[in-house]
Symmetry: C2
Subunit: 399 residues, 2 copies
């Protein structure tokens, strides 16, 4: 550790003192390795620690592939073509995208094997979907109602392309057609359409992924996913091939891979982790630490109005606020953070920990997906060095 620390310091000492325009030029050229350090970054900045990130990718890939399942990680977490490509190089068959526009941005970055997990609704969007399928014919589109099946089929016919369709099954609290007869009828309808091909079943059970306690989570996930497996059997009994049953999450990755009939997993958050997932509990112990926290927001102390209060430059626009808990200083509980408006966070110094204006502090994020969606760039760091800058190309693309 010490030796590495010294080496890093030595490398960086020679590079200090970049101007902002020089940093911008480095970033634009993608030429940052060995030239840019964390201390050069403007804050608030979103950083990913590569050692932890790479370990997370390796662990998930080895587990899922080792269990004989396919891995199609959900890109709504990271929205980075670079990360999707790294996952593909580690054995993933592609990536999930929440919406069509997210898929378009990922594909523009070279990503193949896309599954769009929300139905494409509306004339303009369906037209875009057909144009997209012409370029990426392996893309799978989720559908959950009969009219949408007809609309997709008509547009595909006009566009002279055959679309892969997955039945979005309602196994959680969001989209999807209810299981049993309605879902089976939808499958038959897809099968009967000349310009559609049934790819399989999309089944995401959000209520399972964040159930606290491993045994409770296993129960919830198995119960939620059972109708997907049953639907597949029912379709195949009718002679309708259904190669794919895809679902699961970071919280259920080691539950769903033990369930017969689930062919593919689509976890997202494992690449980064967040406080929310840390709290769900693991197989042993209260903290879910199967994957490491790799994502942090780097801030600067910009004001110290009183002895017991410091203000950092990250607030509601730097962290998502959809969870009941605030960001956590990665150094521990001594610097509790409270949101102080759009642009600032307030640290209590009553615990005795001192900070000064100009100090840089890193925070663990309450919920990774919507936090990443606030940033255009992700700085990939190893120790103090920035190795790469990844474009969050699908940021804001929820259409």
């Amino acid at each position: 550790m010490l030796a590495t620390g010294l080496a890093v310091a030595a490398v960086h000492a020679a590079k200090r003192g970049y101007s902002w325009s020089e940093i911008d030029r480095l970033i634009a050229r993608g030429d940052v390795k060995g030239k840019l350090a964390k201390e050069d970054l403007p804050t608030p900045a979103l950083i990913v620690e590569l050692d932890a990130f790479e370990a997370n990718v390796k662990k998930m890939s080895e587990h899922v592939l080792g269990k004989g399942r396919a891995l199609r990680p959900h890109a709504k977490t990271h929205k980075c073509p670079e990360i999707a490509m790294r996952l593909i190089r580690s054995g993933a068959v592609g990536a999930c995208a929440a919406k069509l526009s997210e898929a378009e941005a990922l594909a523009a970055g070279g990503v193949t094997g896309l599954l769009i997990t929300t139905a494409v609704v509306g004339k303009n969007k369906i037209e875009r979907a057909v144009a997209f399928a012409r370029k990426r014919p392996e893309t799978i589109f989720s559908v959950d109602n009969a009219q949408n099946v007809k609309d997709l089929n008509d547009a595909a016919g006009a566009g002279k392309v055959r679309l892969n369709a997955a039945i979005d099954l309602h196994v959680g609290g969001r989209t999807g057609i209810v299981s049993g007869a309605p879902a089976l009828a939808l499958g038959e309808s897809i099968q009967s359409m000349p310009n559609l091909k049934l790819a399989g079943i999309q089944a995401y059970a959000g209520q399972a992924s964040h159930t606290v306690g491993f045994e409770a989570r296993r129960r919830v996930s198995r119960e939620a996913m059972a109708p997907a497996v049953e639907l597949r059997q029912a379709l195949e009994q009718k002679g309708i091939p259904c190669p794919l049953v895809t679902g699961g999450s970071t919280g259920t990755y080691n539950i769903d891979t033990d369930m017969d009939g689930i062919t593919e997993l689509q976890p997202g958050s494992f690449v980064f982790m967040d406080i929310d997932y840390n709290r769900i509990g693991g197989q042993s112990g209260e903290v879910y630490n199967d994957f490491q926290n790799s994502l942090f927001v780097l801030t600067t102390v910009v004001s110290k109005p009183k002895d017991e209060m410091a203000i950092v430059d990250g607030g509601l626009k730097a962290f998502s606020t959809d969870r009941a808990f605030p960001p956590q200083w990665r150094g521990g509980a001594e610097l509790p953070y409270a949101f102080a408006g759009d642009e600032h966070g307030r640290l209590s110094l009553k615990g005795g920990k001192q900070v000064s204006v100009g100090d840089r502090l890193e925070f663990i994020i309450p919920h990774c997906d919507p936090s990443v969606n606030l940033y255009d760039r992700l700085f990939a760091v190893r120790g103090e060095q920035v190795e790469a800058v990844w474009r969050i190309a699908a940021r804001g693309l929820s259409q």
Copy 2:
């Protein structure tokens, strides 16, 4: 009303059926007036209704200017150069920016008279500030500690520019130097620096802006702002000119303009309004309706899993979540919305209101500033027509 509705429908009928690529081309050319309607927009989309927006701008300008105060509206709300320029054309002296990078983006869009309300801390940022001041010498920089004053002065000297500095006074729960002797000493320090010029006092009392009830709000704001007025007097008694005392918000605009010694107001949210501000109560009545809701998120119903449940395509990435209340359907209370993850919202249809997949629904936003920060474009509409597309150029720029 009916005649206008028919006219709008007639105009649009001739334009229907744009492809997505055609819409993109229209938007890129800025050539949308009379050619693009709300129904053409991909969802979720952020829209501003021009009639309400223009009335809000007019009302605030007339009130503040009529009271003999300057208006420098805070651009952290809208982050649009186009809106800042419209406010300037309505009499504003410029715009406030929360951070340096926000100011840079606004200036690139032509905005002048910028006041940066957070101290610029760190070597690289200070260097950028100096470069910025060379291009926009009228810019005012907030400072709240002695070392930062020295750092700015040194950098300004090296850059051969004189910076305008405002004392950021701690009148709320965020940044700023405490009032009394420390603030006075900071003012003297600024005055003594060869490369700085004291512009005045920046004093934002966030606790006042959202105090519920007009009388309570008046009390809180007057108490919070009194030290700023006193500091100005103390500086002038020492022979230090202090032309500017700037602060206030949409919640206190008609309170602070009656307070002697406050020279300038910096409200932001009045251009759009949100549920949060609707709840603070007005001078008469429980709803604060001095300004109109002009900002909405347009969504599409993408799934209807059950008779009593519909899913729209706007979730945690389409609305800010920093308030305790969810988005509200603008049609009333019949379609209560609950967040359903990153990408979706769940509507209860138990009230009897029916919707179908493909229906488009508009929602009032809980808190405008962080919601706007999720979007790249703001569609400016009049009735059903899109009149303009405004770039949210400073989106994500909290650095």
